[in-house]
């Protein structure tokens, strides 16, 4: 818990500096420090100092994942764009249940958000094991296509593949 508190404090200090840009106003720096301590104190009292509040330890992995996700988004965007701009407007909406394999809550959130972020697929309802997905084109609802995304989003949040399989079975 101390570790997550420290991580959160560092991130908030960087955030404060990047938004304010003040480095030489003693009064403002002190006020900024007080704000950071206040937030830390509130998190401590609410007992939410865990990896969900401060998921920054896996930042390199998460950023790598975002690069991959951005490529997927571009690909899917071109697909949807072609469907929308074609004169016939040929779409084939479909609802499918996709197995949600990440073990942690934050991993599931990451996965469901990635599905929604990719145009052509929207996660409609989530349960413990499955996500109900609405796909704009039937070829986008292929379950195998989602498996790679699930694996990668679990990896991005720091879940190990072995742990996930053990928990899933």
């Amino acid at each position: 818990m101390l570790r997550f508190g420290l991580v959160l404090a560092i991130v908030m200090v960087i955030y404060w500096f990047s938004l304010s840009g003040y480095f030489d106003h003693p009064l403002l720096l002190v006020l900024g420090a007080i704000s950071v301590l206040l937030v830390l104190g509130l998190c401590q009292r609410m007992k939410i100092l865990d990896e969900e509040t401060a998921p920054y330890l896996n930042l390199p992995k998460t950023l790598t994942y975002f690069v991959w996700l951005f490529k997927e988004i571009v690909k899917a965007n071109v697909h949807v764009m072609r469907a929308v701009l074609s004169p016939g407007l040929e779409v084939s909406p479909k609802m499918v249940k996709i197995k949600s394999s990440p073990a942690t809550e934050i991993g599931k959130t990451m996965f469901a958000n990635s599905i929604t972020l990719t145009p052509g697929t929207v996660s409609v309802e989530m349960s413990e094991k499955e996500i109900l997905v609405h796909a704009l084109l039937t070829e986008m609802s292929d379950p195998e296509g989602f498996e790679e995304m699930a694996d990668r989003s679990a990896w991005a949040i720091g879940e190990l593949a072995e742990n996930r399989q053990a928990k899933g079975s």
Binding site: G21, N77, V84, L136
Partner: protein, 136 residues
Amino acid sequence: MIVSLILAGADTVASGAMSIDIWEVIRNGLAILSLLAGLFFVLGGTLGVLRLPDFFTRLHAAGMTDTLGAELILLGLIIQEGFTQLSLKFFLVAFFLIVTSPTATHAVANAAYQAGLKPLLGKYKAPDPEDIGKEG
């Protein structure tokens, strides 16, 4: 139009120093390309919202606007701005957008589904304008 915009960017630089800064020209060109691509996707998203048949399919088009459209516009602004505090703020805006917009889309889709709105499934094809005229 693009060429004239790039030249306008080069002109502002050239007025300070006599020679054209080639990096400035390249940067402005990339920024303009990114902005135009972003606008293209925003336009496509808007057309999609207008053309698609039902609520759930329209969500996809709206998603297109606030993922690639907004991100490309922000990327263009970052390239234009260079490495400053302002571009860091643009980066934060892009990050928050990429985290919050799917959450909002999911909330809207989930609310519609819970309320019992039945999605249109199967194949859909836009009716031919001539057929509409005949039936009417």
